[in-house]
Amino acid sequence: MRFEQIQQKAASAWSEFTDPGRPRILVGTGTCGRAAGAGEVLQAIRSHAPQAGLEARVYEVGCLGLCYAEPLVELSGPGLPRVLYGGLAPEDVPGLLRDYYEHGDLRPDLALAVMEGDSLEGIPTFKDHPMMAGQVRIVLRNCGLIDPGNIDHYIARGGYAGLARALAMAPQQVIEEVKRSGLRGRGGAGFPTGRKWEFCRNSPGDRKYLICNADEGDPGAFMDRAVLESDPHSVIEGMAIAAYAIGAGEGYVYVRAEYPLAVQRLQEAVRKANEYGLTGDDALGSGFRFHVRLKQGAGAFVCGEETALLASLEGKRGMPRPRPPFPAQKGLYGRPTNINNVETLANVPVILSRGSGWFAAHGTEASRGTKTFALAGKIVRTGLIEVPLGISLQKIVFGIGGGIPEEKRIKAVQTGGPSGGCIPAELLRMPVDYERLTEAGSIMGSGGMVVMDEDTCMVDIARYFVEFTQSESCGKCAPCRLGTKHMFGILTRISSGEGRPQDIELLEEIAEAVKLGSLCGLGQTAPNPVLTTIRYFREEYETHIHDKKCLSGVCKQLVTFQVNEQKCKMCNVCKENCPANTIEGERKKTPYKIVQSGCTKCGICFDACPFGAIEVV
């Protein structure tokens, strides 16, 4: 089939999908939606819609990014506006369907946004929704708006036009176009993508590989998962364009095994792209041959590092090796290999179809385009966002994210996961770009952004990240293997009240050594969480070490659990649950009391109390 014919077929599938003449129901069933109960809501809709005499077409779509309001459902029908509803439970479904379809009542109490047209009955339009205002969606262009299993939907919204254009150009021209766009790698390091492709293209060898890094191991990050689940073809198309540019005939997606839905959607997408002749032996009749295979990771964070990933693909332990030689020279099976992140690749089709100039108009001089972030932690609106680079953290946290819940104060924003750092509240006005984040001691990273409030202890956070890196360290080089363990030991003793006066300096010294001496990025960046928390929150370390206190009430050994007599309802639950039998009191007679001498500070009473009457001081 010629591309025009494919596009025509897609257009007719799209007009069926968007046919205003029939009721249509979209349910967001990405992983976040499912975790919030979208499966049950979908079931309720499937069983109630026919009962209500509704001949509705029900589609499963991906993630719109408003994860805090999951599960999300969009309703539309003849003469009725497209309205997005959030926070639905299966019980809400019959009433909502009746009100909306029979009475034309838009139920503003449950509505989040009007998806098309003007705001109605106080319901804002989608782009004016407080979480959407300020966002620019390039990578997430289709997420939540199409059926991810339907390739026609992707094509109808401009998909594979970038590949069609690329195939009509010389590979070197494609590279030039990507270079002009200013796109930098979204996997962490921010290396210019066009230049990376050029190295690989110029590397001698007739068999080359293109790899999509979908390992997304940073705890606190889920951007790549959402893209793979919600719009898998954007990644496959990006891979095909990259492969054409560098001259690779084979591609691999290295995807985490913890993402079963993403794996399933990718498998479908790879099959469909082949069936349509967009990839395969003769892509779009151009003579370009490109086959994509999936490989599932097996649970090792270090395999996100390029050389470790290659070892893993070859069936070995995922241990990194020194560079050079770089993967572009000697990669998979010793052949030239280019590795790009999911989000980097999802940007590529748009750069080709809309042009590098259009793309470069977003963002700042040195950081072009947009970046997706996974907003999580102590923030009102958690979810997946995409913003132009250069926006301030303040706007992200307080505008898009809606600020901190329960009127608590913000303490820090963590970016870059275990390789990044904690940026203190005073620096929130800082623009988000590669250079500024690095200056602040953190990194852009892949896009995890975890907000921390006054109840978060920064010593505990540093300890948390180092616990992670020391257990994920592959053990090949000594600075990382021993240094992270040693830092973990020191942080553990500080948080258990046994910190020594010289510990801060000792931590700094080890951190520098680990940074300088480690073989790969894992060790080189592992000290960042320690160094930034010391740099910005030194007094918290000092309070732990000198006063033996954790003012956030997190480090268990440094706190005391107490019963608040006003709140205690004398229900006996704490006493029943106390493994140390150190709580006194009698049901419905006297308020309960913790006998401190016997308390092991396990925190079980704190968790068990239904009234929040156990307090930490």
């Binding site: 992983t31 705890p219 990050a221 332990r317 932690g377 995890g448 948390y464 968790d607 239904p610």
Partner: protein
Amino acid sequence: MEENLDGIFSQYAGERGELIPILQDVQRAVGYVPGAAMTQTARFLRIPESAVYGVVTFYAQFHLTRQGEHGVKVCQGTACHVRGGRRILRAVEKKLGIRSGETSEDYRFSLERVACFGSCALAPVMVVDGKVHGRMTPQKAVRVLEALE
């Protein structure tokens, strides 16, 4: 225990690069990677048994021992951590009477802590038999487990 793995091997060409997918298939079929399966895999790929063992022990996904009927995984990612993931783990450990990494004596439950499921927006989360449960509290987590009994 001698498993017949020929059905799995027949899908592969016998190349070293296939080691991890083969082990993943073995674990899917058997529930874990028994010693005998490692021996057979090594023979099939014509590589030393130590190389197979090295890979199995490197990756967190592979289990060397029989797992419980229900797999319970409590997320300890950053977002879950700041939202009380540790308390969820503690409540689950207490409820099941095992610690993370262990399997109950009656082989009903296995408990693991996982670095991140990528469901951070609904933190803290727990995954039971592949289903993600979001916005957990210690009480809710216990109820999810009780519903299995």
